[in-house]
Amino acid sequence: MAFPQLTGQMIAFMLISLVVIGSAVAMLFTRRVIYMALMIGGVFIGVAGIYVLLNADFIGMAQVLIYAGAITILMLFAIMLTHHGHQEQTPVNGHTIFSVVAAGGLLGLLYWGFNTVDWAKWQSMSPKTDAPEWGTSSVKAVANSIYTQYTIPFELVSVILIVALVGAVILARKEEN
């Protein structure tokens, strides 16, 4: 990989990546579960920033609403409904070593693999346009796609939401008697 030139986009990407990875690492190593919920909020908002960099404004918005809003709040509620003390630091044992080796191995493999790929060829094969393929309004394009091509999965998602709703209620409600 050639050394990248510093452009505005590049700087924004670096900063956001730093926030995302920093929050993710901090989340995994924090000892209090409640801080963890705040850290994950940082990851979600950072990822939304990445989407906006890629001209996917609508998805970026949805990311803020669904993840940073709904899911983080849901997590906070669950944390408050169940009691969490200080998390003890996991001792360094076989289990930790296994986790580090497995995840690190995956990352190493991916890094090595991405380096072997001929990205210049990728660049030459993909169309070189400065404007995104879907024009200026990603909302319109997404809506068009969902309501024409992807109507069937869209309808099925409503079934999934009902299943999740009913499931959450019957699993979490108190015993009747």
Binding site: W122, Q149, P153, V159, I162, I170
Partner: protein, 502 residues
């Protein structure tokens, strides 16, 4: 851009996915009906579920008859959803499995306090998810079907409120299943990146075209998807959740997971592998060979030491997943494209036999474990004195799983081994044969217990209920029927237009 998407009409949706529509509508109807029914009337809800499944089965058969005279296969939204015999035959397997699950459940729900309506419609929705996985050609839709099945299964597993094991089983299933989802999606994202389409039929040529240039990305996608789906079919090394989940789940749901859920994941696996990665299968089939061998070995060896009947069945089902991987693994050495259809026939035959046998065995397990109030295999001791019919049926089911002659399981295994030898995969055939021999040990262990004399000799007779006897009876007839005349099913399979008329 893809093809012009014609608009969905009620007629076209009904023609192609009528079975799914019936099940979803029944599910929603039961959801509303639940509010108006009193306790006695709720006992009828599972029967309504069975009725809707039978209608859905009729609609699938209608589709299979229609396709014989059709000039091209029916499709919706630009080949997002298709009506081919590959999907239809799997759908029939799911429907039969779900009907039998509900029949076992009717007996089970009379003894264990569970919300009957929710149980029924979650099962129906899970079946819809399985059907979508079998019939869709679109990565997003397959993924949605997979999640519909998975999320409904997580809830069904965790439904027992009197048992902490049930919630723990659900938690474990959910965490492992969600990791599987993430892995599958990570794999799918590269397919999209390389081809720009989510349709696997259209991605087929695209993938073959970029294979040489971006081999790492294609292989990464394949490995990730294999791992993700491997979790769902409990393929070694992703099988750790299986025994715990099977043990903690309500017994009919264990049967559903090991039969319908597994069959659905196989339907998805074969569809994805055949469409996306078959162009270079001779380069990577060794991965599948190794995984199949490992799955057969680990499943069978670990089952030997099990003392809990549900855990034993869990390991046995892992082993069965290994056998089912063999027909695709051997395609790597296949000489001609026709072998694909041969492999598909083997898989469907084996799955049909396996689903029926599993349901029959779990019907008996459900009764025996409840009567003894213990899931230890010792509860089967002296079953022959207490109920000769159940003991003999169970023996036949176990013999079928082990692959003894005059049962359906024998021909299932025989065909797979024959196919492996035909494709010069002698090692795999040998491992399959050898691990089957190991499996005799634990299957015979249960049989020996059943025919042993009780020490005090005054055990009361075991009463079966009507629905359980029905399940056992159906399973028995099919198991022996297919064992005596396997050609009846093989002829039908031979006539199928798997992916439409060639």
């Amino acid at each position: 851009m893809g093809p012009i998407i014609e608009q969905l009409t009620f007629q076209s949706v009904w023609d192609i996915m009528g079975a799914e529509v019936i099940l979803v509508l029944t599910g929603f109807a039961l959801l509303v009906l639940d509010l108006f029914l009193d306790k006695e009337q709720k006992k009828l809800v599972p029967w309504l579920g069975i009725l809707s499944l039978i209608i859905a089965g009729g609609l699938v058969v209608r589709n299979m008859i229609n396709i014989q005279s059709a000039t091209e296969i029916g499709q919706l939204s630009g080949y997002l959803y298709v009506m081919d015999d590959y999907g239809s035959i799997f759908k029939l397997i799911f429907i039969v499995g779900s009907i039998l699950t509900l029949l076992i459940s009717i007996d089970y729900l009379n003894h264990v306090k569970l919300p009957k309506s929710e149980y029924t419609y979650l099962l129906l929705f899970a079946t819809v998810g399985a059907m979508v996985m079998a019939s869709s050609l679109d990565l997003i839709t397959i993924f949605i079907g997979l999640e519909l099945l998975s999320i409904a299964s997580y809830i069904l597993v965790g439904m027992r409120r009197d048992s902490a094991k049930s919630a723990e089983a659900a938690m474990k299933y959910l965490v492992v299943g969600a990791v599987g989802t993430a892995l599958t999606l990570y794999g799918m994202s590269f397919i999209y990146g390389l081809t720009g389409t989510t349709n696997i039929a259209m991605a087929m040529d695209g993938i073959a075209g970029v294979w040489a240039d971006f081999e790492f990305l294609v292989m990464l996608s394949l490995v990730m998807m294999l791992a993700g789906i491997g979790i769902k079919i409990s393929m070694v090394p992703f099988q750790m959740w299986t025994p715990d989940t099977y043990e903690g789940a309500p017994t009919p749901i264990t049967a559903f997971l090991s039969a319908v859920s597994k069959a659905a994941a196989f339907a998805m696996l074969f569809r994805v592998v055949l469409f996306l990665f078959s162009s270079h299968i001779n380069e990577w089939y060794l991965i599948l060979v190794v995984l199949a061998a490992l799955t057969m070995l680990v499943g069978n060896v670990a089952a030997v030491t099990q003392k809990n009947i549900k855990r034993l069945m869990a390991y046995s089902s892992i082993a069965q997943a290994g056998y089912l991987l063999v027909p695709i693994a051997v395609l790597g050495k296949a000489q001609s494209g026709l072998n694909v259809f041969q492999s598909l026939s083997e898989i469907v035959f084996y799955l049909a036999a396996y689903v029926l046998v599993t349901m029959g065995a779990f019907a008996i397990i459900s009764l025996v474990t409840r009567d003894a109030d213990s899931e230890h295999i010792e509860s089967f001791r002296g079953l022959y004195q207490r109920s000769p019919f159940l003991a003999i049926s169970m023996s036949i089911f176990l013999l079928s799983m082990a692959g003894m002659p005059i049962t359906a399981g024998f021909f299932g295994k025989f065909l797979i081994i024959l196919g492996a030898i035909h494709n010069q995969s002698f090692w795999l055939a040998g491992i399959m044969f050898g691990t089957s021999v190991i499996s005799f040990y634990y299957y015979f262990g249960i049989m020996r217990l059943m025919f042993k004399k009780e020490t005090d000799g005054i055990e009361p007779k075991l009463q079966t209920s009507g629905t359980l006897s029905l399940v056992v009876g159906i399973a028995l007839i099919v198991t022996i029927g297919l064992g005596v005349m396997p050609d009846a099913l093989m002829d039908v399979l031979g006539k199928l237009a798997w992916f439409g008329k060639a």
